[in-house]
Symmetry: C2
Subunit: 566 residues, 2 copies
């Protein structure tokens, strides 16, 4: 029995959502609307190029992948901030029409800002900061003064921010232009992107597949070159899964390296495994430029939990890592319970061969105790017995229990059944468990020094970002491969390496399985479903060694490029 009050409430949130979507639609200039893609076309990656809306110049601008190149042209005044912002805004809006990746669209503000930056450059003869004129997209958690921050909750419609998030403030200080925010899943705690306010985001390489999540709007937008650099958040893989699924670079720094203050979040206040804030970009230079530019603004002067650790050029140039020559990598083929699909293993194999051919070495790293990592981290996430989610669902908006398009909303799958709330004392005990796991890993990492041949521990660890490339909507399983690095707070970089090729990546015959989950994931593989989907690798280093991971990343990226794998 639905009471009248409930029915009214139900109506009201749906009306609010309808109004919100109408306002979102109104933010799109009419002349930037494109016709729908033909029924049955699943790959829309080329539509921004082929739809005819972008001028040649706009195409030239938006198809730059290397952020450094774009920044140089902006700083030199070769391209104005206004034309760059216009180009990316148009392309972002095109992308949105294809894959539903945006939440807030605020192009007017962006163009105004871009004009100010152009005037600044003209007047002062120098750029405003290291990100002068660069359009940057933001996941729907970063508050921008005067804009709503809904984070996919109906109850948050109409919550206008009175202040910028610290990270937003620093981006503006560095000269960036903000123009769009991007879609997320309800509660953020999914590896896909769908909510009751903005709906579902699709993968541009195959609309039937998910772009991943929770920073799925960013992944899809950047893959379509509607943004060259975006900011996401990651508590279990939320930057890295979309980066891997959409074929872009994504970096999860350590939790407190980037400023977190003033960002809206799910499970806010849960600090045992804390959210990390980091970039997604079409180039590694975008990732590195972002981290360096933020650190140059001394975020610890604005955010109380940002660690005052300036950018270290010595670390980035791998001074203590043989200057980047003859590195030794660990390689973890799997985490022991779920074997990755053939294209994922091939991406690792390709990387290993390319590194060895370039004079580096690669040693095996065996996954140990990873199931304990998962147990501890899930216990933290679920410690409130859903109190946080419930506090955000005050409008009658239902909690989404599945990312499957046709899921019965009343069926709660096992893994989403709320747990009994934990006590503070139980959290203390879990913190101790996590500490032991971190110590165990650190000791193992340090102990590799005896087998690398360099006198040092491994310089970085290479591992899969997930057991598969982008999966059909609703099919994303647990995020083991990314989550493990959140548990120990290790920085982790996703780099695109290859695409699924059904000719090479044939389905193997397997007669025995490591676990029920392993069997299920094996069953999901059909080369034709995943055809042409991007596949990346994950590169990991110890806590707060962001510069080392990025420096080693550059070595790997260069090696892969020069061996023809980019």
């Amino acid at each position: 029995m639905v009471s009248d009050a409930d029915a009214l409430k139900q109506l009201r949130w749906q009306e609010q959502v309808a109004d919100k979507r109408k306002r979102q639609q109104a933010a799109i200039p009419k002349e930037w609307l494109i016709p729908p893609v033909p029924e049955g076309q699943t790959n829309v990656a080329d539509v921004p190029r082929s739809c005819g809306l972008l001028t040649d110049r706009e195409l030239e601008i938006t198809e730059v992948s290397d952020v450094t190149v774009l920044l140089q042209k902006l700083a030199a005044g070769e391209w104005s901030a206004l034309e760059v912002t216009t180009a990316f805004s148009k392309r972002a809006v095109i992308a949105h029409q294809l894959v539903n990746c945006l939440t807030e669209i605020f192009i007017d503000k962006a163009l105004e800002r871009a004009a100010e930056l152009d005037a600044y450059l003209k007047k002062h003869g120098k750029p405003m900061g290291p990100l002068h004129g660069l359009p940057i997209s933001l996941k729907d958690q970063f508050k921008v003064k005067g804009l709503e921050t809904t984070m996919g909750y109906a109850a948050w419609i109409g919550k206008y921010a009175e202040e910028d998030s610290v990270l937003v403030k620093l981006l503006l200080q560095a000269g960036a232009v903000l123009y769009v925010r991007t879609n997320v899943p309800q509660t953020l705690m999914w590896g896909e992107t769908h909510n009751n306010v903005f709906g579902r985001t699709l993968n541009p390489y195959n609309l039937r597949l998910t772009p991943g999540g929770s920073s799925g709007g960013e992944g899809a937008l950047i893959a379509l070159h509607g943004s060259i650099l975006g900011v996401g958040t990651d508590i279990g893989g939320s930057i890295r899964i979309p980066a891997h699924f959409c074929g872009v670079y994504g970096f999860r720094p350590s939790s407190h390296r980037m400023p977190s203050y003033g960002v809206v979040n799910s499970l806010d206040g849960q600090e045992s495994v804390a959210t990390a804030f980091g970039p997604l970009s079409s180039s590694l230079s975008g990732v590195t430029t972002f981290i360096r530019s933020i650190l140059a603004q001394e975020p610890w002067r604005y955010c109380p939990s940002a660690i005052p650790k300036p950018w270290s050029q010595d670390d980035y140039s791998l001074k203590a890592h043989g200057e980047g020559t003859r590195l030794c990598f660990g390689i973890m083929w799997d985490e022991g319970t779920v074997k990755p699909h053939p294209p994922v293993l091939r991406a690792l194999e390709v990387t290993k061969k390319a590194l060895e051919a370039a004079g580096h070495s690669v040693i095996e790293w065996k996954s140990l105790r990873h199931s304990e990592y998962i147990d501890v981290t899930r216990s933290f996430w679920l410690a409130d017995g859903s109190a946080d989610y419930n506090s955000c669902l005050t409008t009658g908006e239902p909690l989404i229990h599945s990312m499957e398009p046709d899921a019965d909303p009343n069926v709660i799958p096992d893994f989403r059944i709320p747990r009994k709330p934990l006590s503070a004392y139980e959290i203390w005990q879990l913190n101790k468990e996590r500490r032991e796991l971190r110590k165990h890993l650190l000791d193992r990492w340090q102990a590799t020094a005896s087998s690398t041949g360099t006198g040092r521990p491994i310089d970085a660890l290479i591992c899969p970002p997930a057991p598969y490339a982008a999966v059909p909507h609703g099919q994303k399983r647990s995020s083991i491969y990314t989550l493990i690095w959140n548990t120990v707070d290790y920085p982790a970089l996703i780099m695109p390496v290859t695409k699924v090729d059904p000719k090479i990546d044939v389905k193997p015959v397997r007669e025995s399985f490591w676990s029920a989950e392993d069997e299920h994931v094996h069953g999901m593989y059909d080369p034709e479903i995943y055809k042409d989907m991007p596949v990346g690798i994950q590169l990991v280093g110890p806590t707060l060694q962001e510069e080392v991971v990025l420096g080693v990343g550059k070595v790997v990226d260069t090696v892969l490029s020069s061996s023809g794998h980019k």
Copy 2:
């Protein structure tokens, strides 16, 4: 009614304590026993010098205050590690007989180690590390392989450590000699030092007063020159209160700057306001040498929560703070609810005048929202409803409810009544509150840039370490003045400045009070009780800026010395 089982249990823990004390006594060489001090003598500070047990050479060695001087003589082989260790061991044992400051006494091991170090120096012609031959005392939380770690709990008697704490490992790696561990209060959560295993530690300047706590054994030992450098822990003032009460230097670094792994603790796993690990010393050089030596060992390679932030000589030399000239200090005379006693205010006044005379400036800092700091932090500490304490009191040993010598053990004072346990979700909400308080403080700190005249925010903040000097046993009240810096995780240094002088520090007439606590604390003041007790100041800087606080501390120390206040 006491059941037979309970009576037996009761007997058993008391027998274990008696046995433990017997073993402790047996660890003291008989020839190092001294006669008891005459009845009625309250100041024993001179006894080590006057008792005749120490040779002139041993007096010369142990009365060096400056750790750098001692290290130079050790490194040069001018004094052998063996004679230095012998001298400090003898003096520590004398101190223990006077003020009951030790727990584990392991002089045999220490002398063996010292001999090895001497042999090393002879063989290699260079010291083993930056702390070569330096005897270092440890609070009773730092595990040393093969020794018991009781931390004042009867139930922990017989718990022999299988491994060194990481900090112990690094001290040994740096060449230190370990020889004694020092006393703590039961549960650690007191500003005094008394437990059922080792009993009460006394203040060497007045046995009727407390040395403070929880690192009270360290404070008393160092005041008597039974140690030149010791290691304590601080979650609400536990390094700083004893430093202030005993007239030594004490430094609470930020929580994760020093390695914490492998240390036994109270409320273990409570990470919202995390324990900090730091030194107490008879000199500022001792404090600085400790921090620098530990960081030089790269603690993050051994401890998973140690932040990989190397020692910054630029920060220590105040490169970004005008190279230490024309600094601007904030001064906080009180925290707004409890006015400090006259000698504490005089220590601030003396410091202010000396700094101004040396060309620095001092501006007022008003305490804001400090009662919220206290509320949040106490809520974290008490979140388990005493589950942690209870898990350590399995022998029938009673929980101590008061530090008063004659307290009725059955009366539980209001502030020690266990609270209702909190849920994980409630902890999340408290974490958010703490974040807002930290942001509020950071913004205020940064905003001082407009009034310092240096173009920078204040270079450090000067404030009282407590509203009083050392108080009679059982009279230590809440630790507001130290605890506030734990809440926000700011590094804080205690520096001795003066002593209570009843002629100058007369009791003021006050007609109105800021709070009931203010009135109570005012009522505690009688210049004759506090006569000759040391009084320090507290110097505070932003999170993880240890080098800056130590660098500014050096400026203050030099100014105070050259103006005759040391």
